[in-house]
Point group: C4
C-alpha cells in the first residue's frame, strides 16, 4: 500500500513506457505510434527519387532524429525492466532492436537503410496500446484458429510445393526456352504463380499442349484453393463455439499493467501481484 | 380516422415520394429508378470519345434535364418532410445531394461532371423501393454478418498492410529499379497486387532471388485468403442459426410507409402511429 | 402386365431414346455422348486454321453427318413422346434444338457455325444417362444450396456492380486516357477485372494516386470475395444437415425410366405408374 | 521371442529400409530424404544454362551417383520384402521406379533426364518417415474430406468445363483473331484462365462487347469459386465433428513397423503380429 509513495524514477518510467493505463503512459504510446508512422513514411518518400533529390537533407536529418529517439527509448526500456535479458529476447524486444539498427548500419553499408521499413513491425504494438479488448479477443481467436490449423496447412502447402516442382518440370519439358520457361526453377516459379491464381503473365505457355497442361494446372489450383479455406473456416467455427460457452463466467477485465519482473502484461483490474511471478504490481 | 380526408398536398407528396405502397408512389419510384439508370448510361456514353463527338449536344442536354429533375425532387423531399435536417444528413439524403451537385460543379471546374456517376449510389434505393422483404432480409443478414466480423477483418487487413510494407521493402532492396521496383511505395503496391492474387504483371521480379521471394509472397497470399473467408462464413453460419430460431413468433409484415416526422420507414401493416416518434402515420 | 407385349414401336423407341435402364437404351445413350463429344472436337479443330486448311472437307462432311443424325434424333424425340410441346419447351428440348440449328444457319450466315459448340450443353445429359445416383444427389444438393443462396448472392453481385461503376469512374478521373483508362465503361471493366482478382494487366494504373486507389480496390476485392463463399458454405452446411437426418427412412432407388406422358424421369424401382400424372410406365 | 536372435540379414535390412523405429532405420530415412532433396536441386541447377556450362561434369556425375544409389535401394526393397510384386505395384513402389528410370532413359532419348524431377514425389515419404502422428492425422482428415467431396467437386468441375467451352466459343465469335482469340481451343484456354481468376493477360478482349462478356465471365468465376470452397469446408466441418467424438476411447499409438509380408505399416506399439495378414512382426 504505502510502497506506492516510495516509487522511484525507474518504476515511474516503467509505468509510462510499458503501460497504457495512466494519462502519461497513454500519451507516450500515442506519440510513439505517430513517430513510427512518420518514420515509415519518411523512408518511403526517400526511396522516391524525385522527392529525394529535393528534400534529401530534411529526410536524412529527420530519420536520424527518429533513430536516436528510438535508441534512447530502447535503452530506457532495458534500464527500467528488472530482467533486461527477458525483454531483449522477447518478440517486441527483437523488433525494437531491428527498428534502430538499419540506420546505423547504413553508415557502413550504403543502401541498407531502407530496412528501416522494418519499423512497420513496431506498429503491431497498436493492438496492445489501444487496449482494445475487442481487438485483442479477435486477434486471439484468429491466432488460435491459425495455430490449430497450422499442421494441416503445412501438410497442404508441402503438397502444393511438391506439385509445383513436378508440374513445373513438365512445363519446362513441354514449352522450353522459346516461351520463357528457361529453366526448371523459373518453371516452378511460373507454376506457383499459376496455382495460386496470381497469374502475372510475364511467362505464358505458347504451344497448344502447354496451354492444355496450363488449363489443368489452373483448374487444379482453383480446386485446391478450397482446401485451406475449408480448414480455416471449420477450425474457426469450432474455435468460436468453444469460446462462446465458457465465456459467460470467465469475463474479467484485463488492463495493460506490465510486471516489472517478468514483463507479463495481462493483469486483471485490481490485481495487486503478478499472477505469474508473484512480484508486486505498482498502481498509481 | 377522418384526418385522412384533410390530408394536404404536402402529405400527399410525401406519400408519393417517400413510400411505395400506393400506385402513385410505386409509379414514382419506378420512374426514378429508370431515370437514374438512364443518367448513368448517359455519363458512360459521354466519356466514350467516338460517341461524344457525334451526340455531344444530345447527351449534354439530356444530362441537364435529368439533373434539373433530380434537383426538383431533392427540393420536394426537403419540403415534404417535417424535419428537413434529418433527411439532409441521412445516408440517402447525402447521396441525393452528391448526385445533383457534380453537374453544377462542371460549370465551374471542367472535367468533374463524370462524378455524376456517383448517381449509381442512388440505385441502392432499389432495395427499399422494390419492397422485396426477401432482399431486405438477405441484405440485413449480410450486413449483420459483416458487422459482426468487422473487427476481426480490420485486424486481418491491418496485418496484411504491415506485411505488404515489409515485403515490399524487401522486394525493393532485392529487385531494384531495373525490374520496375522503382521505389518503396511502388513495391508495396506490387506486394498488394500479389498478396491479393490479382497479379497484373506490370511489375514482375526478374532476378532468381526476387522470384523466390515472390513465390513465398504468393503462397502466403494463398494461405491468408482463407482467413477472411473463414471468418465471414463462420459468422454467417451463426447469424443464420440465430435468425432461424426466434423468427417463428416474430414475423410481421413491414411496408414502406415512411414517417413524416422521423423518416423511420419500417412500419408494420396496419400501424397507426410511428413506433419511434409516436407521430401519426397517413394511410390512404 | 400383359400390355408389355403389346408395346408398339413408339413405346420401344421412347424407351431406347429417353431411358437408360435397358441395354438398348444404355447403348443409345453412350453412342449419343460419344457423338456429342466428337462433334465438339470437330468444331474446335475446324477453328484452328492450320488444321482446317488440310482437312476442311473431312471436317465439314463429318459435321453435316452428325448434324443430320441429331436432327433425326430430335424428330424421333418429338414423335415418341405423348406431349411433344412439353418436350420442346423443356430445358433439354431447347438445348437439343440449339444444338442442331447453328449448322443449318451457317448455310445462310457464314461464320455462325461455330455456335455448334453450344452442343457442349448436351453433355449435361451425362448426369442423367450415367444413372449415377451419387452424382444426381450431389448436383441436387449443389443446386438447392445455390437456389437457397440465390437471393443473397444477387444482392451481393448487385452491390459489387454499383461499386465497380463508382470506383471505375473515380479511376477514369484519376488516371485518364494516358494509362489506358480511355472511358468510363473501360474503367468499369478494369474495376471488375481487379475486384474479382483476375488482373489481366492490359490496363494498369500508372500514377501514384491511381496505384494507391487500385490497392484499396484490391484489398476490398480480397475482403468481399469472402462474402459469397461464406454464404454458399453456410447454406451448403445447413443443406447437408437437413438432408442427413430424414435420409435414413427415405432411401429409394431411382431409375431413369421416363414417363411417356409428362417426361418425369425420377421413378422408383418397381414403380408401375408415374407418380406425377398417373400414366402407366412401360417395363421390359 | 527367441526368433529375434535368428533374424537374418534380409529381416535386418527390411527393418532398416522400411521402418523408422530403430536408430539405423531413422538414419537411413534421413539420409534418403537428404539425397532426394539434393538430387532435385541438382536437376534444377542443371537446367539453368549459366550454371550447367560451368559445372556440367560435376552435376552429371553427382546425378549418376545418386541414380545408382537409388537403383541399389530399389533392388534391396524388392529383395527384402516377402511379396515383391505387391511392393512394385504399390504407390511408393511405382514412384521409386519412376525416380530411377529417367536418368537411364536420358542415355537413349536426349533431353528427358529432366524428368528426374519426378523424384519430388518421393518426398511424400516424409510424412511416413517423420512418424508425425499429427501430420498423419491431419493428412488423413484432409484426404477423407477430399474423398467425401470428390463426387461433388467432379460435378462442379465438369460444369465449369462445359461452361468454358460455351463461353470460349462465344468469345471466339465476338473477338476473333485480331485480339488473339485465334481459334476455339485458345478461346477456351482464355476462358479457363479468366474463370479461375488467374488472368495472365496474354490474351485480352479488345472490343467493348468482348469486354462486357469478359466482365460477365469474371463475375461468374468470382461467384462460382465459392462453390468448391463451400463444399470442402462443409465436408471438412462434418469430418472433424465425426472424428472428435469417438476419438477419446480409440487413441492408440501407431509406429512405422512394416510387415515383411503385406507391407502394412500401421501397427500399434507392442503389436506382435500384423493385424492384416497375421504374419509375425520383428522387433529388436
Amino acid at each position: 500500500m504505502n510502497d506506492k509513495h516510495h516509487k522511484n524514477w525507474k518504476d515511474k518510467l516503467h509505468e509510462i513506457i510499458y503501460e497504457a493505463d495512466t494519462p502519461a503512459g497513454k500519451l507516450f504510446d500515442v506519440i510513439l505510434l505517430v513517430t513510427i508512422l512518420a518514420s515509415i513514411i519518411l523512408v518511403m518518400l526517400e526511396s522516391v527519387k524525385s522527392i529525394d533529390v529535393k528534400y534529401h537533407n530534411f529526410l536524412n536529418i529527420s530519420e536520424w532524429v527518429i533513430t536516436i529517439l528510438f535508441t534512447i527509448e530502447y535503452v530506457l526500456r532495458i534500464i527500467t525492466v528488472k530482467k533486461p535479458l527477458k525483454y531483449i529476447t522477447s518478440f517486441y524486444g527483437i523488433i525494437d532492436l531491428l527498428s534502430t539498427i538499419p540506420k546505423y548500419l547504413s553508415l557502413i553499408f550504403a543502401g541498407t537503410h531502407a530496412l528501416v521499413a522494418l519499423r512497420a513491425l513496431r506498429l503491431l504494438r497498436i493492438f496492445r496500446i489501444l487496449k482494445l479488448a475487442r481487438f485483442l479477443g479477435a486477434s486471439n481467436m484468429l491466432s488460435s484458429a491459425l495455430k490449430a490449423s497450422r499442421v494441416k496447412i503445412s501438410v497442404f502447402l508441402f503438397a502444393v510445393i511438391i506439385l509445383a516442382v513436378i508440374l513445373g518440370t513438365i512445363m519446362y519439358l513441354v514449352e522450353g526456352e522459346d516461351s520463357g520457361f528457361d529453366n526448371i526453377p523459373k518453371s516452378v516459379y511460373w507454376c506457383i504463380v499459376t496455382l495460386t491464381t496470381v497469374g502475372f503473365g510475364d511467362i505464358t505457355p505458347q504451344t497448344p499442349l502447354g496451354q492444355f497442361i496450363a488449363s489443368l494446372v489452373m483448374i487444379l489450383g482453383y480446386g485446391i484453393i478450397a482446401v485451406p479455406t475449408g480448414i480455416v473456416s471449420a477450425e474457426y467455427s469450432s474455435q468460436s463455439k468453444q469460446k462462446e460457452e465458457p465465456k459467460k463466467d470467465k469475463v474479467v477485465h484485463v488492463n495493460t499493467q506490465c510486471c516489472v519482473n517478468c514483463l507479463n502484461d495481462k493483469h486483471q483490474d485490481g490485481a495487486e501481484f503478478c499472477y505469474k511471478c508473484g512480484c508486486k504490481l505498482h498502481h498509481d
